[in-house]
Symmetry: C2
Subunit: 188 residues, 2 copies
């Protein structure tokens, strides 16, 4: 990906975050890039490519993260800590892309949307594995695994709605708080 193309992608992500994918026009993006609308098409295939790249690049980051955690660590408490940490880090380090990833994946075309949902399910599965591990190890209480994983992910995902890079809580503080909260909610 060219430097210029990357710059355009980032501009688009910022606008998508601010106004949403559908409400952001190609002309908006062009204006922010200081270029005529038609000129964008020297770099991209179309508006949807910008959404597609954003969603799938983020999905890959998340998925790689959870796979590493489940590969490397053994103890469920450690795994949970690392998974939360990784999630919060990816999210806060790419906040614009993360917001788009969370909110606008619905506007992918049918085929890509299906693929996206599969990746998302795989990621959720990674968290279910952790919860199940904890139960098997006897350190988590015997909760509904699916529900617990979903609730943890709720807290993690909602961060995009309030995270402020200049706010008083740093990414690692947020991660620590969230691990503490979810772990206490789970442990026996």
């Amino acid at each position: 990906m060219t430097e210029r193309k990357l710059a355009i992608l980032q501009i688009a992500q910022r606008l998508f975050m601010e106004k949403g994918y559908t409400a952001t026009s190609v002309r908006d993006i062009a204006k922010s890039a200081g270029v005529e609308p038609a000129s964008l098409y020297s770099h991209i295939n179309g508006k949807e490519e910008l959404l597609d790249r954003t969603c799938f690049e983020m999905a890959e980051k998340f998925l790689t993260g959870i796979e590493e955690v489940n590969d490397i660590y053994f103890d469920a408490a450690q795994k949970l800590k690392m998974a939360v940490d990784t999630h919060v880090n990816i999210l806060t380090n790419h906040i614009e892309a993360a917001v788009v990833f969370q909110r606008d994946w619905r506007h992918l075309n049918e085929v890509r949307r299906s693929e996206f949902i599969e990746l998302r399910n795989a990621y959720e599965d990674g968290f279910r594995v952790i919860v199940q591990n904890g139960i098997d190890e006897g350190i988590f209480s015997d909760v509904d695994v699916k529900f617990a994983a979903l609730t943890i992910l709720s807290s993690l995902n909602w961060i995009v709605e309030w995270y402020d890079p200049n706010g008083k809580l740093s990414a690692s503080e947020i991660a620590a708080n969230l691990f503490n909260f979810t772990f206490t909610g789970l442990k026996k």
Copy 2:
């Protein structure tokens, strides 16, 4: 509000839920209502009215709920239980409107968006009061109040992303699970 107007509003809410406010056209709504686009304007002032009503009617429901809880109950644990219960009930009983309320309030016009955010803050404040009560009563551990309230609300709000009226978990089971999880995460 006329019967017909209410029907149109509900049709719009279903479509807004499925495709998002911006991606739903007046023609889509008209088609679903079995009517020509122009005919809708006998009943509504414009597309935005449908979004506006949805957002503010839901906001009022939530706000009334939390105010009642904080008025009636005394003990923080009871309050939390009732607040979670009320939230889950409003949400599951009006799932289409709830989804729109969650996702599309950003597309309100500037003035109404500000008003909406104020209501939302007031609601969050209601939860902060509960957490603070619990700390003062000595039954909750000494957490960051703002952060805790936000995390609880994350779990509650994320329900709209996965709730299935025909799923295996009923609204009251969801509420019970969520209270259990958040309460355990908070208590000393």
